[in-house]
Every structure is written in structure tokens, then in C-alpha cells.
Amino acid sequence: MSDNIIETSGLTRSYGDICALKPLDLHVPEGEWLSVMGHSGSGKSTLMNLVGGLDRPSAGSLRVGGADLLALSEDGLARFRRESVGIIFQQHHMVPYLTAVENVMMAQYFHSVPDEAEARTALERVGLGHRLKNRPGELSGGEQQRVCIARAIINSPKLLLGDEPTGNLDHKSTVMVMELLKELRAEERFTIIMVTHNQEVAAWGDRTIYLDDGVLVREERMSS
């Protein structure tokens, strides 16, 4: 059995005449931290959406965690997103009138059942034990992103996707978030795929791939 969590072959996504992702063969081993770089419109987010089950490919094959995403029904795909994937966006997409702990519990609710004690523990793990009852508007950008990380990992996903999670953060907050992700990956052993424009952020990963106009043009392995 393959140790790759992601296996794509000829993965393509077109929107009408525009081919956002040209046939891509990509293998990501389990537990790897893969950074994806490229200019705007290079197909980074398209790749993320396909791997995260948010979109369906136009052609090719795509297996994530052993599941053939093309063969899954809409319900199956929703279950896959719920149980196997955690996503952190650049914008935090939190519910503004819920507290930090309630935002995390909402992810639990859609997954299975809410458990406040577990949500509190998750926030304590990301260093927000003192901010449990604060609403998003009362948190700094870095704190909001840490709530998002707690929300993304609360359901123990096999795969954590980050779409420029540090894009809105200052350097200090960026380092804090990256360190946190590194620690969590060591504990939970999930795979990270992170889209970024920032070379410094990409350097936190094990490997970086570069996309240009929907084509994988370069691959770089980071020295540990």
C-alpha cells in the first residue's frame, strides 16, 4: 500500500476555455509539509480546492487518504471534507457573534457533536486559554488565526490545508503561527499543504513546489 496521502495523475481543472490547472502528477507522502508557491493565477488555490474536496476536477485522477474523490457522491465528498480535511484561510471566516470557543465548537457540531471541554483544550493548546469567551472582533489578527488553527485541527484531520494563512499577519505573528503549526504537526502527525507567496513561510515546509500558469515548473526540497 502506498504511503502517499495525495496521489494525482493528469489532474486538470478548466473553467470554460481557461485551464486553471494543467495535467498535474503530484505525490505527497503522509506527514509531509508541502508548500505551494506561484504568482497570482498560477493555479495554487485551484489545486487546494481540488485536494480539499471543495471542487471537482475536469480530468485526471485524484486520491486523498485512499479515497478516490472523483468517485465520491456529493454526500461522500461532504463527509470527506468534514472528517479528513482542516482548512485555514487568509480571512479567518469566523462567526462574528460567537465566542472563540463557540466558533471551535461549531466545527465539532458539523462533524459530530459539540464538546466544550475539548474545544477549550484545543484553544489552550494554541495559547488562547485566556481568550475563550472573546468574540473575533476582540482578538488580534494572530489570535484569530490561532482560533482558526484550533478550529481546523479539532476534528483530527489527516490533511491540513492552508491558503495563505499568514497573508494578513505581521512577521512576529507569522512566526508564532508557523511555530504552532510545526508543534501541532509533530504531535498530531497530519500532512500540511500550504499555499503562500512568502518565501520565508514556504521555508517552514519539507518541500516546495512552484506553479506557473497551471503547470508545476519546479520542485525544491528544504534542508532540515
Binding site: 472528517e83 465539532q108 462533524h111 459530530s112 457533536v113 464538546d115 475539548e118 479539532i154 476534528n155
Partner: protein, 449 residues
């Protein structure tokens, strides 16, 4: 016509088999075989019973079996809620018992027999010849076979996550049996139940008052009697009956709702733990569906009982007068035929007083004259249907064989003489009997209908 009458009963039986198949998922072949056999035995057995036993004995036996099924549901519901609420209650033996083929077979066979017996009560009059019995057995067997396999086909299409708890299964089966039987007035349970409750409350209050000598008690103020009077109304019977009727299925719903969730403390990963809990909660919710449907069926059965789809023979009273000698003479044959076996109502008025009575030729060709009122209920009168007369007030069914005998909810008999020119009734006796009866049952406030 008979086919139309049979449809609700056959559909009820189809539902019973469907639920039993889901209730005993590992015993499908046992359920199919015993349900078909039970249904045929029920149809043929009840057919023989109703023709061999005279009067209403056959109906009494079938009604008693239905009553026992309802009592069994009460027992199951109490056991179910006790096992959920009681601490340290072990139900392992019960679960093991339910999963045995013996349990599946016996529950299914009894359900089939009861359903078959109820169906049999709607059949037209036929002689119990061997030929008729063989024909009845083969037709009911073929019908049962087709319906049982149709139920099996439907059951296989229902999602596997849709499970039924044993108590939920029993509640739905009994609900369907009672729904089926409530359309036959002589098998109906809800109205007699309401009546029993009403009579119990009535007798209890009487006994209590007598034993405590409360009318003379210094602490019982006169306005309290208004509230005590409520206990003598028809409503107490209806609401008491509703309580007894619906409580078991509500208890079953509570028992399912409070089923214990599996222990997940040993699972380290929170998401896995929550997934297991969510699956258990979802299963529990799905298990509530069948008892909820049973609740709706119980409601439909009670409605059917309160508003039966039966047309009672209830002719408009014919006004009669007395002769100069103070006798009311009703000719045996005039515009109406007193000997046609139908209830004939008359109204006699004299000096501002009136009395309603009826003349009826019973099954043993014995003529009887009775007040259109009994000694217990408000004088709402009687209607006739299906070998019985019914008291409109308390819905008690009185077999035609017992009309003319005094007591209980029977119409109050009136002495009369049968002569060549017709039935002779003493007008004064009639007026006095009516006045006394109505005064004692309404305290002189209401005159009935």
C-alpha cells in the same frame, strides 16, 4: 364492498409484518413463515369461533385478546422506562430473549392470529362448512403470502441504519392491531375503556362520599360540589381513557429517548469519540420514529373509536298518544313493522311531560319495550348497529340478546302486554319510569336529547 372493508385491516397487517421484519432482522424466514401461518389460523379460527359460539361470546374473546395485547404493551413500556431510569437494572436477559427464534416466532404468530381474527370479523355471514373453511383458508393464505413477501421487499429497501427497539416494535404492532379493531364497533377498546374510567370515577366518588359522610361534613363547602360534580361527567372518562391509551407509547418514546449512549471514555482521540457519540445519537433518533408512528396510529384509533364510520339505525321517534283507558297501543304492523328486528322509537307526551321509548324484536324473537335511556347515563338515547344497541352517552355496546334485561347501561325495560292488536303500554307507568330515571341521572337539570 367486502374487499374495501378489508383494505385497512390488510394494510395494518402489512405494517405489522414490516415492523416485525425490522424488529427481528436476523429471523426474517421465521417471521415470514409464522406470520402467514398465524394470519390463516386467526382468520379460520375466528370464523369458527363466531359461528360456533352464540351471542357475543366470540367477540368478547377476541376483544379480551386485544385487551391483553394492550396490557402487554403496558408491561413492556413500564419495563423499558424502568430499565432506562433504574440504576443497576440489567436487561441482558431480555435482549437475549428477544433475539431468540422462539421469541420472534411467538410474537409474530400471535400478531398474525390477532390480525387474522380481526379481519375475519368483517366477513359476511357464511356457513361454517368444510368447503367454506377450505376456501377461506386458501384465500387468506394466498393474501397473507403476497402481503408478507411485499413487506419483505419493502423492508429490504429501508436503510439499515433505521433500527427498531423491541419496545418500539411492540408499541407499533399493538397500535396497528388496535387501529384495525377500532373500526369494528364490537372489537373497539377505546370507548369501553373510557366508559370504565367514567364508571370507576363515578363509583369511587359515591363510595368515598358515603364512607366519609362528606355531605354533612363541616369543612366541605357547598361550592366544592361543583368541582366534585366534574368527576361525574363524560369528560373524566374521555381524558382518563386518553391517559391510559397513550401512556404506554409515550413511556416507550421516553425510554428510547433516554437510552444510554455507549461508553467512549477509552477512546483517546476526541474526534473519534464524538463521531461514535453522534452515530449513537442518530441511531437513537431513528429508533424514535417507529414509536412516534405508533403514537399517531393510537391517535387515529382513538379518533376512529370516538367518531366511528358506522351508521347507527336511529329513527326519529314517532309521537304516540294514550287511549281513554290510559294505554298506549302500538300496532304490530302499520307504517312500521315492530317485528322487523329494528329498533323503533316513540315519543309519548302528556300534561307537559314526555317519555321516549323504543320497541325491539330481539334475536330470540322476543319483543321488548324499553325507555330510550338507562339508569346511569344522561338520556342521550340508543342507536342500533351490528347486533348491538349503543348508548350514545357512554358508547357502551349492549348486545341485542341482553336488551330487555335491567341493570347497568342497559335500556330500562318497561312492562307491556302483547295482544292481537299490538303492544299495550300503561301510559302512567311509562311517564313515571321516565321521570324517575331522568331525574336520577340528570338531577332534573337536563332532559337529554
Amino acid at each position: 364492498m367486502i374487499a374495501v372493508k378489508l383494505i385497512p385491516h390488510l394494510l395494518s397487517w402489512f405494517g405489522i409484518v414490516l415492523i416485525l421484519l425490522r424488529g427481528f432482522p436476523k429471523r426474517r424466514s421465521v417471521v415470514i413463515a409464522t406470520s402467514i401461518a398465524g394470519f390463516v389460523i386467526g382468520v379460520v379460527g375466528a370464523f369458527l369461533l363466531l359461528r360456533v359460539l352464540t351471542g357475543s361470546v366470540g367477540f368478547v374473546i377476541i376483544t379480551s385478546v386485544l385487551g391483553m395485547c394492550f396490557l402487554f404493551l403496558w408491561g413492556v413500556s413500564v419495563a423499558a422506562i424502568y430499565s432506562r431510569a433504574g440504576r443497576g437494572v440489567t436487561t441482558g436477559w431480555g435482549v437475549r430473549l428477544v433475539s431468540t427464534p422462539l421469541c420472534a416466532g411467538s410474537v409474530t404468530a400471535i400478531s398474525g392470529i390477532v390480525a387474522g381474527a380481526v379481519c375475519s370479523c368483517t366477513l359476511p355471514a357464511m356457513d361454517s362448512t368444510l368447503m367454506n373453511l377450505a376456501m377461506l383458508g386458501s384465500i387468506s393464505g394466498a393474501l397473507a403470502y403476497v402481503l408478507a413477501y411485499a413487506a419483505l421487499a419493502v423492508e429490504k429497501r429501508i436503510s439499515h441504519s433505521f433500527t427498531v427497539s423491541p419496545s418500539g416494535m411492540i408499541s407499533a404492532v399493538v397500535a396497528l392491531q388496535l387501529f384495525s379493531s377500532s373500526s369494528i364497533i364490537r372489537l373497539d377498546l377505546f370507548s369501553p375503556l373510557s366508559m370504565k374510567v367514567m364508571k370507576f370515577a363515578h363509583d369511587f366518588v359515591h363510595q368515598f362520599m358515603e364512607s366519609m359522610l362528606i355531605p354533612d361534613h363541616v369543612f366541605v363547602w357547598s361550592y366544592l360540589w361543583r368541582y366534585i360534580g366534574l368527576l361525574f361527567g363524560k369528560e373524566i372518562g374521555f381524558w382518563g381513557g386518553m391517559f391510559i391509551w397513550f401512556t404506554p407509547v409515550l413511556l416507550v418514546m421516553c425510554a428510547v429517548q433516554y437510552e444510554r449512549l455507549p461508553s467512549v471514555a477509552h477512546i483517546r482521540q476526541g474526534a473519534e469519540r464524538r463521531k461514535l457519540l453522534a452515530a449513537a445519537i442518530r441511531q437513537r433518533r431513528l429508533r424514535l420514529v417507529v414509536p412516534f408512528i405508533a403514537l399517531l396510529i393510537f391517535t387515529a384509533a382513538a379518533y376512529q373509536s370516538c367518531y366511528p364510520n358506522v351508521e347507527y339505525w336511529d329513527p326519529k321517534p314517532i309521537v304516540v298518544t294514550a287511549t281513554s283507558s290510559g294505554e298506549i297501543i302500538i300496532p304490530m304492523k302499520s307504517d312500521i313493522d315492530l317485528e322487523d328486528g329494528k329498533l323503533h322509537k316513540f315519543l309519548f307526551k302528556q300534561g307537559g311531560k314526555e317519555a321516549r321509548f323504543f320497541v325491539l324484536l330481539g334475536p330470540a324473537a322476543k319483543l321488548t319495550v324499553d325507555l330510550d335511556a338507562c339508569a346511569i347515563c344522561k338520556p342521550d338515547g340508543y342507536g342500533q348497529a351490528d347486533g348491538t344497541v349503543i348508548c350514545y352517552y357512554c358508547k357502551t355496546l349492549i348486545p341485542l340478546e341482553t336488551v330487555g334485561k335491567p341493570g347497568g347501561c342497559n335500556p330500562v325495560p318497561i312492562t307491556f302486554t302483547e295482544k292481537k292488536d299490538g303492544v299495550h303500554i300503561d301510559a302512567l307507568t311509562l311517564i313515571n319510569e321516565w321521570t324517575n330515571t331522568v331525574q336520577s341521572t340528570t338531577k332534573g337539570k337536563e332532559g337529554g336529547k
